[in-house]
């Protein structure tokens, strides 16, 4: 047997466990959901469930709401994470040490507990409201509102995104930045010409993670969100197990999968480009 063939076989064997796992836990369920979602409830198959997604007032506002919350959360999370990561990379001192040691803590607090904690902190009669009362500041409604969901998303996603971005920034050689500085490049210029391009790939990974985490989130929006509009995850659960309209829930699942694949497409494309460069 030729060497390349042998290598290819070994490679395939090594990939197959991951592939089989994905096949049975992801690919087949997606196909099943898709088939279910085509059922119109009276035996036939058509796209009526998808039409429903955009014509039903409640469902349409849920979708728009989900996209809005997801995009807002992504922007805010990445803004905060990137700033934190930059700060930790290029500054030093006690504060940096403190941040470095503590920013991961939210990762170790179970979601439900954190959510109830946020409710106690930010609720109408919560701690924060009580602390601000003597100062004369009244908080706007945070819990049972999209603000609550977004704050929870920040809490859940900032640590991980910061971790990813910090490691990307750490791998930028200091010599590159120092030499740029030596020849007089301004801070902004260094950022846009060196730092951002060199960490762009990880930035994209972080966006992907945050986007998918938020769009599929359930616990926080279920407990913190308003009754309407709802995030897709909450609405899907309600349609599936309360209203028992499995086809409609499946259509929603497929739709949110499409939203994610849209982002996945850009991610894969940029990875593919990179591979071509490496060839």
């Amino acid at each position: 047997m030729r060497k390349e063939v042998k290598q290819a076989i070994v490679g395939l064997i090594m990939v197959s466990p991951a592939f089989l796992l994905l096949l049975f836990t992801v690919v087949i369920p997606i196909i099943q959901s898709f088939v279910t979602s085509l059922g119109n409830g009276s035996g036939g198959y058509d796209l009526s469930r998808y039409q429903n997604l955009f014509t039903d007032k409640g469902l349409r506002s849920n979708i728009l709401f989900t996209i809005k919350v997801t995009l807002l959360s992504c922007v805010l999370v990445l803004l905060v994470s990137y700033s934190l990561a930059l700060y930790m990379r290029f500054s030093s001192g006690k504060l940096v040490e403190l941040i470095r040691k503590s920013y991961m803590i939210p990762l170790f607090i179970p979601g439900v507990i954190a959510t109830y904690g946020l409710m106690n902190l930010l609720g109408n009669n919560g701690w924060l409201a009580r602390l601000l009362l003597p100062v004369g500041i009244t908080l706007p409604r945070i819990i049972f509102d999209e603000k609550g969901i977004i704050i929870a998303n920040l809490w859940f996603n900032i640590p991980f995104a910061t971790m990813l971005l910090s490691s990307a920034l750490a791998s930028i050689p200091a010599s590159v930045i120092e030499s740029a500085r030596d020849i007089g490049a301004s801070k902004l210029r260094i950022f846009f010409r060196f730092i951002f391009p060199l960490s762009y790939k990880t930035f994209l990974v972080a966006v992907t993670f945050v986007f998918m985490g938020v769009i599929g989130s359930f616990t926080a929006p279920f407990l913190l969100g308003a009754n309407s509009p709802q995030m897709l995850g909450v609405s899907m659960q309600q349609v599936f197990s309360v209203f028992q309209e499995r086809e409609q829930a499946a259509a929603m699942a497929v739709f949110s999968f499409l939203l994610c694949s849209f982002l996945g497409f850009f991610y894969i494309r940029s990875m593919a480009k990179e591979d071509q460069l490496n060839d």
Binding site: Q7, G11, L12, V15, A18, F19, L22, T25, V26, V27, P29, I30, S33, D56, K57, G58, S61, G123, N124, N125, R141, F144, T208, F209, M212, G213, I215, G216, F218, F222, L223, A226, N227, S228, P229, G233, M236, Q237, Q238, F240, S241, V242, F243, Q244, A249, A250, M252, A253, S256, F257, C260, S261, G264, Y267, I268, M271, A272, D275, N278, D279
Partner: protein
């Protein structure tokens, strides 16, 4: 190797997107372990049967107390409890029992199931439950025979509870006693009343149903005919209109506990709530002791919670032994103490203390039996009231 590399990356991305699909995955079948068939006399190994129940945390606490008590007295039977929190797909437990029966798979590993009257009736229609008699369960004699006739001996009403108004007596001197008075009160005190999203808990659902059926004939509350749905319009208009007067101009917390939390921290003054949850939380000082209960007329719904034996269960003897224990005055006293539920057996079988405790409280609630219409109510509530 480069192409493989690419493939791995693509698969990784696929895996990420998979998280989204998690929400609608189908439920796993519970344990597939094989137990020896029920023959307590012949075998020395304890018989283990599966008991599925649903409800709020208090129901779980109750069984966490009763089951060890039972197992201590009956070493030949083990009870494996499976708790399904309310609002998280409890309906599918019944679907599983039915599916197992239709597929010829026996009991589907669900021997005993706890639920309300709707499921009892549905199962009786579809011949899923096993009829019960005092031969197998001597303590059935402790139950009022009318209650047993209501369900054609297909289920054991082992405890009751009702939805009532819970109010903070330090802020509300005279709570409303009729539904009309309550609706007036809500309008006069904007933001001080809350009911929970009806699809997430029975107390909110009871409030919604009671308002919808306010002006409908009594017969309709036992009618699951979809034709009744047309008569809901005025009720839904009332609820829509109430939206601007309830807590937060139209915020409906999730689950029965959601509104109790609001009452506890003083954000609202009156809520509909399950009597047993309020009494229990008062006992644990989770609610301020100024919280009091009031039933209104026409009453909110309430009624017994039933235990049903799967007709195809192979462990009926063990299940009967357990049911007999649940209906003993000893276990019923635990239900009263622990859950503040009304006992399932006749009060005359309980101690004088208990009899005094429930004088007057256990009356006034109505039992709604509207079948699948409650799903329709939730659906329409979501689109008409929540998303108005």
């Amino acid at each position: 190797m480069i192409r493989l590399n690419k493939m791995v990356k693509m698969l990784t991305v696929l895996a990420l997107t998979a998280t989204v699909m998690a929400g609608c995955g189908s439920k796993d079948n519970a344990g597939t372990e094989v137990n020896p068939a029920a023959s307590p006399a012949a075998s020395t190994k304890p018989v283990e049967f599966q008991f599925y129940f649903t409800g709020s945390q208090n129901v779980k606490d109750l069984w966490d107390t009763l089951v060890p008590m039972f197992e201590k007295q009956n070493s030949n039977v083990k009870v494996k409890t499976v708790y399904i929190p309310s609002g998280t797909g409890a309906d599918s437990t019944y679907d599983r029992i039915l599916a197992a029966k239709k597929a010829g798979k026996g009991s589907g590993d669900i021997d005993l199931y706890e639920d309300g009257i709707n499921v009892v009736n549905q199962g009786t229609k579809e011949d899923v439950w096993s009829p019960l008699d005092a031969q197998g369960i001597p303590n059935l004699n402790n139950i009022d025979s009318n209650t047993m006739n209501d369900v054609a001996n297909m289920a054991v009403p082992y405890r009751s509870s009702a939805v009532v108004l819970a109010y903070d007596s330090s802020k509300v001197a005279a709570p409303p006693t009729t539904l009309d008075a309550l609706l007036d009160w809500i309008k006069q005190h904007p933001g001080k009343f809350a009911y929970n999203d009806p699809s997430t808990g029975g107390s909110g659902s009871s409030f919604v149903t009671t308002v919808l059926y306010k002006d409908l004939p009594d017969a309709d509350i036992h009618n699951s005919d979809p034709a009744v749905m047309e008569k809901w319009s005025s009720g839904f208009n009332t609820l829509k209109d109430l939206g601007k007067y309830v807590y937060g101009n139209g915020i409906y917390p999730k689950k029965n506990q959601g509104t109790l939390d609001l009452l506890a921290n003083g954000e609202v003054e009156i809520i509909p709530a399950w009597s047993d949850m309020v009494l229990q939380q008062l006992g644990q000082n989770l609610l301020p002791d100024t919280v009091k209960l009031q039933q209104i007329t026409p009453g909110f719904n309430g009624g017994p919670t039933y235990l049903m034996v799967n007709k195809l269960s192979e462990k009926k003897d063990a299940v009967n032994q357990f049911l007999n224990f649940v209906l003993s005055p000893e276990a019923q006293a635990v239900i009263v103490d622990k859950m503040n539920g009304f006992p399932g057996i006749k009060l005359s079988n309980m101690s004088q203390d208990m009899q005094d405790k429930f004088k007057g409280v256990a009356e006034g609630f109505r039992t709604f039996n509207i079948g699948d219409l409650s799903n329709e109510i939730n659906k329409r509530w979501q689109s008409d009231v929540a998303a108005q």
